[in-house]
């Protein structure tokens, strides 16, 4: 009988966030993604402390294959730089830019989307035209132009990625706000004289949170790929090693040595893959009924 009683009790007593975590924890791919993400974060945060090596320093003969020299387990690149050192110190910038670009994307998207959705009318109309305008610009090209016009520091790169990626978040936020603002409790809040910003911030946003959290997670993945693409093209900060830069620098020599390009690419893939698994898991956790799909 306890089997029957438990789920009911769980559904009643848990807050929505705890309920989602409960669902998430039982989702094997999602937990795998979370563990993978923690491992990658740990590696980039603590790896540089344990393993001190300058990624720019030439330490060995060029194109040493992986597994041949114990000191350089993943081999060396075309100049004879240690790949492990590159991976460890390149992860930080990639992840930092990815996360801060996603944060910028979310801030712009939330502000514009919430304003458009809540106020409607000409404000909505104007903001949606602006959104459509930004969707017409090919994002990577526009980011390339921004990074070239201004000095390519990590901040400018994150800003450029944020400026080109917000339209989707804005549309999603707008749709959620449009839906929620019609609900009765919002009318009640308005009738009781609650200030507008408080209705938007405290009453609507928390209820719009689940899809936005999922979208924010996936945005991190897209931003990481964006950063990798820019650094691959050589438009990243030239003084900072990153995974995309490693691929870009070694790509001329791929037919002589596959590892300096393949390994950093795998790291990018694993990072974005873990983000995507987490995002899918959150989506399932917030919408348990859609899981069958």
């Amino acid at each position: 009988m306890t089997d029957l009683a438990d789920p009911i009790k769980e559904n009643v007593s848990r807050s929505p966030m705890r309920e989602a975590w409960h669902m998430f924890r039982k989702n094997i791919p999602a937990m795998f993604g979370l563990i993978l993400m923690i491992a990658i974060l740990g590696m980039t945060l603590y790896g540089t402390l344990l393993f001190q090596g300058d990624p720019y320093e030439i330490v060995w003969a060029p194109h040493e294959p992986p597994g041949m020299t114990p000191e350089f387990p993943l081999g060396t690149d075309y100049l004879g730089r240690d790949i492990v050192a590159g991976l460890l110190s390149g992860g930080g910038p990639t992840l930092t830019v990815g996360a801060s670009a996603a944060a910028i994307t979310m801030v712009i998207g939330l502000l514009l989307g919430a304003t458009a959705g809540y106020f409607g009318g000409w404000v909505d109309n104007l903001l949606m035209r602006v959104t459509e305008f930004f969707q017409v610009l090919p994002a990577l090209l526009f980011a390339m132009v921004l990074v070239t016009l201004f000095t390519p520091s990590l901040f400018v790169i994150a800003l450029a990625i944020g400026v080109v990626s917000w339209p989707q978040t804005a549309r999603l936020t707008r749709a959620e706000f449009l839906k929620i603002k019609e609900l009765e409790y919002i009318t009640a809040a308005r009738a009781s004289g609650t200030p507008t910003w408080r209705i938007m911030w405290r009453f609507i946003l928390p209820n719009a949170a689940p899809p936005l959290i999922v979208s924010a997670t996936l945005t991190v993945g897209v931003a990481i790929l964006f950063e990798a693409g820019l650094s691959f093209l050589g438009l990243g900060d030239p003084n900072v090693m990153s995974w995309g830069l490693m691929i870009g620098a070694n790509r001329e020599y791929i037919l002589d040595a596959w590892w300096p390009v393949t390994i950093p690419g795998l790291m990018i893939f694993l990072t974005v893959f873990s983000v995507s698994l987490i995002g899918d898991g959150l989506n399932d956790a917030f919408n348990p009924r859609l899981r069958q799909r």
């Binding site: 090919p138 132009v145 016009l149 893939f269």
Partner: protein, 325 residues
């Protein structure tokens, strides 16, 4: 689809392009430094006469609004300025490079839609079957792989192990003067790897979307009716359900076009494909701003045109929308 709707969409597309031109104008002015020097680019120090002629051509000594007007009216005549690096008018430079990009993008788009829809439709027939699982695994992987890296991996694979496809450029040098049929075959041969690289990401997305959309369509009443009257299952799936399930695909395909162009930029660089992406890359390395701005203009124009086509074909495909204005 009535005429006033078409005209309204066309005007709207035109306004979007006007926005792009204004943005281009603002970007050059916002860049740190003298705009004339910015436009001249990294030429190892442009001469004073050269800067003077740029100032003359762009009206840089005049008030800002006049400058904007000069810029807009020259773009309206497809005069995008002179590339100081390539020593050519930007418009003709892009005119040479735009067709390879259009060829690559459209091939990749068709490849991903056709294969993706086919995969998704077959997967939807068994929602918990192995193909369904494959579709969701592939779409997660497709989302996570950097497109330029896929391209490089394919180059390694096909250059050294399976020399079936050329891995660089668009045409073989020795076939430049062959008859058109040999040349067409040669270009198609070169197109395989870049188009496939670009298609891979979107293929899985279309498969996943088609599968979800097909599951919706297959549970509709008219499908039960079709089955009840004894129609062949293949006809039910492919001609009754798929037709309705395709509408969301069309919407996404239109929205994806901008991303596809961004992807093409990277793929062209990897495969040395002589298109606009490659041109953008080269001109950015040389800080050749007139060319960069020209590429931004034409790439946006491609997206606007693609959106218009999607809009119109959507109305064509969904008769319910035909009479709406």
């Amino acid at each position: 689809m009535n005429a006033s709707y078409v005209i309204r969409r066309l005007i709207y597309g035109f306004l979007l392009m006007l926005g792009v031109v204004v943005l281009n104008f603002l970007l050059i002015r916002l860049a740190p430094g003298d705009p004339a020097v910015v436009i001249a680019g990294e030429m190892g120090g442009a001469t004073e006469e050269m800067l003077e002629s740029i100032r003359e051509a762009y009206g840089l000594n005049k008030p800002v609004l006049t400058q904007l007007w000069i810029y807009i009216s020259s773009v309206a005549q497809f005069d995008l300025g002179e590339s100081f690096f390539f020593n050519q008018p930007v418009a003709s430079l892009i005119g040479d490079r735009i067709w390879p990009t259009i060829l690559l993008v459209i091939t990749a788009q068709l490849l991903s839609i056709v294969l993706g829809v086919l995969m998704g439709a077959i997967a939807a027939r068994k929602p918990h079957g192995p193909l369904s699982a494959l579709v969701s695994v592939l779409s997660t992987i497709g989302y996570a792989v950097p497109v330029f890296w896929t391209g490089i991996m394919l180059i390694i694979l096909f250059a050294s192990w399976l020399p079936w496809f050329p891995v660089e450029g668009m045409q073989s040098v020795k076939l430049r003067n062959a008859d058109w049929w040999t040349q067409t075959k040669d270009i198609a041969h070169h197109l395989v790897l870049p188009a496939f690289t670009l298609a891979i990401i979107y293929l899985a997305q279309y498969a996943r979307l088609t599968r979800a959309s097909m599951l919706d369509a297959l549970s509709a009443d008219y499908i039960r009716t079709a089955r009840a009257k004894g129609l062949n299952e293949r006809i039910v799936v492919f001609s009754h359900a798929l037709r309705n399930a395709l509408l969301p695909i069309l919407t996404v395909a239109g929205l994806q076009f901008g991303n596809l162009i961004s992807g093409a930029l990277l793929v062209e660089t990897v495969f040395n494909w002589p298109g606009m992406g490659r041109l953008a890359f080269d001109s950015i390395l040389r800080r050749d701003y007139p060319t960069i701005m020209g590429v931004l203009f034409f790439a946006s124009l491609m997206v606007v045109v693609a959106n218009l086509i999607t809009d119109f074909s959507y109305r064509f495909a969904d008769p319910r929308l035909k009479d709406e204005t």
